[in-house]
């Protein structure tokens, strides 16, 4: 079907008409029948064939995981430590990040400069990722330098030395990064959402602002390292065109003498989540639009409802065809965009809707988001929505594994959280099993409670929010409560 008012396509090609008529093999005025409708997919079955992650445990407790990926002479080498932001002592948030950032910045014999030079001399770099539950040190190297990379990874990790000088440099960098990130309204909204959802829980430790950085000492870092950087709490991961047996021997050669007991690390209980109407406003003087995050605590990724929830999330706001986008942008014109997301930790998950909206539409936009979320629990999604969401999730899954970095990140998560093969190559089967009934049941269980709402915007945007809600908690950019504004009551 052509949009109304569009002239027939061939008139748009008038300038080339003579040339085309001379050239075209068929009648000039008619389009071929096959163009009228989208073609069906090729009948050949598509199968997501990921390399197996072969896991072994060395006598010292260190896990070795190898995935053989032929094709490109690049290898990703990772060290996973099963301790992240949430494992920092509550009085010393950010110490997990400080410890990880100090890896590679000195050993008893070698300086930070020397180590950095040694890593970059083989064309590699060291990427440090600290998540809520685990830490990953990654080196992406040319195949021919893998053994050198093993040596360097062992050297910088097992012989790490923490000095005041290097900690000072890490503190400065970290402070600026956190300071700069606050300029991004999405980061502000995400941080505040987690801060409030996880209040009183171990995960609250991972929601710090830059002000805590200055308190971290060498002693704090050393204590964290001594406790968690242990072979029984770690895994070496290798993916690329490698021989698995050779890799295991190399890992044992380099890391076999690493010793020390694994720390006890029981999973924290799931946080209770939000259960009442709660609207929070974070002041961001330079934000030209209002950014809305509305979310709550859900199940962890080991839960049987994990896959149904992903289908649910897709229907709610997975793409520009989903409910949130169609309603807030296409129908009502409130938003520049509106989507839904999920994040899964060891103890729980979090879902959230996110939208960037015109400041004068913030009140009705929040109302619509809340309505769309509760509608998911109120009525079952249509079969067409369910099938489209599943088709997207199944079709999109291979894209996550396409880049070396994407593959390695997913493999690290798979190993660090001890996930099952549903989170590897069995994902398509798990999605196929999801039906409308399971999605609705999952929605009723997890979307019944009112989500917590965080709005980031200019202070002068607060009145528009108060038009729609009776009370709004007002926070500064560091997440500290300033006051609670009430409808009809002056500041």
């Amino acid at each position: 079907m052509r949009p109304a008012g569009v002239p027939p396509a061939r008139t748009a090609l008038a300038a080339a008409a003579v040339l085309a008529a001379l050239w075209a093999p068929g009648p000039a005025g008619a389009q071929e029948r096959f163009r009228r409708t989208p073609p069906p997919p090729d009948p050949r079955p598509l199968e997501l064939r990921l390399p197996a992650v072969e896991r072994t445990v060395l006598p010292n407790g260190l896990t070795v995981a190898v995935a053989v990926r032929p094709g490109v002479p690049l290898v990703t080498l990772q060290l996973v430590i099963r301790a992240g932001e949430a494992d920092a002592p509550p009085e010393r948030p950010a110490v997990a990040t400080a410890a990880a950032r100090l890896i590679g910045r000195g050993t008893k014999m070698l300086s930070a400069d020397y180590l950095q030079n040694s890593i970059e001399a083989i064309g590699a770099d060291l990427r440090v990722t600290v998540l809520m539950d685990y830490t990953v040190l990654t080196m992406h190297v040319l195949e021919e330098y893998l053994d050198r990379a093993f040596y360097l990874l062992r050297l910088i990790t097992l012989e790490a030395l923490f000095t005041e000088r290097e900690l000072g440099a890490v503190r400065r960098t970290l402070y600026w990064e956190l300071f700069e990130r606050k300029k991004d309204p999405e980061v502000l909204a995400w941080s505040q959402l987690l801060r409030l959802l996880f209040a009183g829980h171990a995960y609250a430790t991972g929601t710090y602002a830059e002000d805590v950085i200055k308190h971290i000492t060498v002693r704090d870092v050393t204590a964290f390292y001594d406790r968690f950087y242990r072979p029984g709490n770690a895994a070496v991961l290798v993916s690329g065109p490698v021989d698995a047996d050779t890799v295991r021997q190399r890992v044992e050669g380099h890391f076999g003498a690493w010793a020390g007991p694994a720390p006890g690390r029981p999973a924290a209980a799931r946080p209770p989540g939000n259960d009442r109407e709660r609207i929070c406003f974070v002041e961001s003087p330079d934000a030209p639009e209002a950014t809305i995050f509305a979310g709550n605590v859900i199940m962890d990724s080991y839960d049987p409802e994990f896959f149904p929830f992903l289908v649910l999330k897709q229907i709610l706001g997975g793409t520009t065809r989903a409910r949130l986008f169609m309603n807030l942008r296409e129908t009502r014109g409130y938003a520049y965009y509106a989507f839904s997301e999920t994040e899964f930790f060891r103890s729980c998950g979090v879902y959230w809707a996110r939208a960037r909206v015109r400041p004068d539409s913030v009140g009705p936009a929040v109302r619509e988001i809340l309505r769309e979320i509760s509608a998911m629990a109120a009525e079952p999604a249509s079969p067409a929505e369910i099938e489209e969401a599943k088709a997207f999730l199944i079709g999109n899954l291979p894209l996550r594994f396409e880049t070396a970095a994407g593959f390695a990140d997913w493999m690290a998560r798979y190993v660090a959280l001890s996930l099952d093969d549903g989170q590897w190559d069995r994902g398509p089967e798990r999605f196929q099993r999801v039906d409308a009934g399971r999605v609705w049941e999952t929605a009723r269980r997890h979307l019944g409670a009112k989500p917590l709402v965080v709005v980031v915007g200019r202070p002068d945007g607060l009145p528009a929010l108060l038009e729609a809600f009776d009370a709004v908690e007002v926070y500064d950019a560091a997440g500290a409560l300033k006051y609670t504004a009430r409808k009809g009551v002056g500041p």
Partner: protein
């Protein structure tokens, strides 16, 4: 037009271990990177490359319809048309191109550069026909409805203003490019102020599409889990009957008068701190010079221990942010630096530090060890880029537009790896002179 015979090209990269750091035995050759390169009767160039590691396929269509095809007063036209390509065609309703791709889990995007407008989607491999149906439909019958034009125009300007408001540096990149590439066609921004965009008439837009969005001015690249024979059938089915346009003239070469000294300008930014864009332009840029330039880029600015990052960020701690990039626009190219410091003093010292490091390159020998380190990192990034369907498709699009034969691409990496210290020094001596330097200083509030 006679159909040319298919060309099968096999690339095999063989890597020699560079001296300086011991390698663990000989590096195995990378797997063959095989392509088929041919043209349809309507002039459409088609490049196919099979890769069955994942059940995905990337389809990229590039038109020689970049900003240098705009006439004076048409600023924004190329970018507008790129966006109008999502507004529907004879059989695809407005915005449903995105919908069809997303329905099956695919991802897509588009971009406009100086020389081309590029559209690409990656989707499950069994939906190759869908991607070809979508791309051929908008190639042959793009709908240019007045309402869609107005909506797209308004959306683009709104998004542009929103980005400007959110990012104090956003506008400075376009302003710097205009200084660095003073030729009107080669230096013009995608949108500019937006005035040109608002004045564009429907006939102008239609004429641009008619002239440049035609198969004889385009390349179709398909990379992924495909059967080449089946892919050729589908390409023929969907594209063979798309009518060609008139002959497309070769893009005009830039006109460029070298000034007598460095160009330095200052603009305010609505945030704290201070910084600058600094660039050196290379004109007329010879095709073989890209190899030394890329190695120089890595030697100066890629990795924490590269010369400029080491000096500005690690040792002297002058810069909060420092990055560099090569910008190649056909016969003119540039090496650009973007640096932010806490205040004007730090920013000025950063500028002097860069100039001092560049002077050292002219006067002191560069060690093989340092060159090899830069090349190892370059090689890693080069291979990484080619490891995905999309990366390989974009690589093949660039190659197709460069005019170079695709059967020579397998040797490209070796050319980079063959760069030695003397070539880098010769490049620096030739181009890094004040007359080629352009600086845009950013003055914080």
């Amino acid at each position: 037009m006679k159909r040319t015979a298919a060309l099968l090209v096999f690339f095999a990269f063989s890597f020699a271990a560079a001296p300086g750091v011991p390698a663990q035995g000989p590096a195995p050759a990378s797997p063959p990177f095989r392509v088929q390169d041919y043209r349809l009767r309507n002039g459409l160039r088609v490049v196919l490359s099979e890769d069955a590691r994942l059940p995905l396929v990337t389809v990229a269509v590039a038109y020689g319809a970049g900003t240098l095809r705009e006439k004076p007063g048409q600023e924004g036209l190329a970018y507008l048309l790129e966006n109008l390509m999502f507004q529907g065609s004879e059989n695809v309703p407005p915005l449903q191109h995105v919908g069809f791709v997303q329905k099956v889990g695919g991802e897509l995007n588009a971009t406009t550069t100086v020389d081309k407008a590029l559209f690409y989607e990656t989707l499950p491999a069994n939906y190759l026909a869908l991607a070809l149906w979508l791309e051929s439909d908008r190639m042959r019958s793009l709908a240019l409805a007045p309402a869609a034009i107005e909506r797209t125009r308004t959306d683009l300007l709104e998004a542009h203003r929103s980005r400007q408001a959110a990012d104090p540096f956003f506008g400075t990149f376009a302003a710097f490019d205009s200084l660095l590439f003073p030729d009107d066609l080669y230096g013009r921004p995608l949108l500019g102020t937006g005035d040109g965009l608002m004045k564009l008439s429907e006939p102008e837009i239609a004429a641009f599409r008619r002239a440049y969005y035609v198969p004889n001015n385009a390349a179709l690249v398909i990379v992924g889990d495909i059967d080449a024979g089946r892919a050729r059938e589908l390409v023929a089915r969907y594209f063979e009957t798309v009518p060609p346009g008139a002959d497309v003239p070769t893009p005009p070469r830039p006109v460029f008068d070298r000034p007598n000294d460095a160009v330095v300008r200052t603009v305010p930014i609505g945030t704290d701190g201070a910084g600058f864009h600094m660039g050196y332009r290379f004109f007329p840029f010879q095709p073989g010079e890209i190899y030394a330039l890329r190695v120089l880029e890595y030697l100066l600015a890629e990795g924490e221990t590269s010369r400029l990052r080491d000096r500005l960020v690690r040792k002297d701690r002058l810069a909060r942010h420092f990055s560099a990039s090569v910008d190649s626009r056909l016969s003119i190219a540039a090496l650009k630096f973007f640096c932010l410091g806490n205040n004007r003093v730090m920013a000025d010292r950063s500028q002097r530090a860069i100039l001092s490091e560049l002077d050292k390159l002219k006067t002191n020998a560069i060690s093989m060890d340092e060159i090899n380190r830069a090349k190892r990192r370059f090689k890693r990034d080069y291979l990484d880029r080619l490891s995905t369907n999309l990366g390989r498709a974009l690589f093949l699009v660039d190659a197709a537009f460069s005019g170079a034969p695709l059967d020579d691409l397998g040797a490209e990496l070796d050319r980079y790896l063959g760069v030695g210290p003397l070539s880098v020094q010769a490049f620096v001596a030739k181009y890094f002179i004040p007359q080629n330097r352009v600086v845009l200083e950013l003055e914080g509030r």
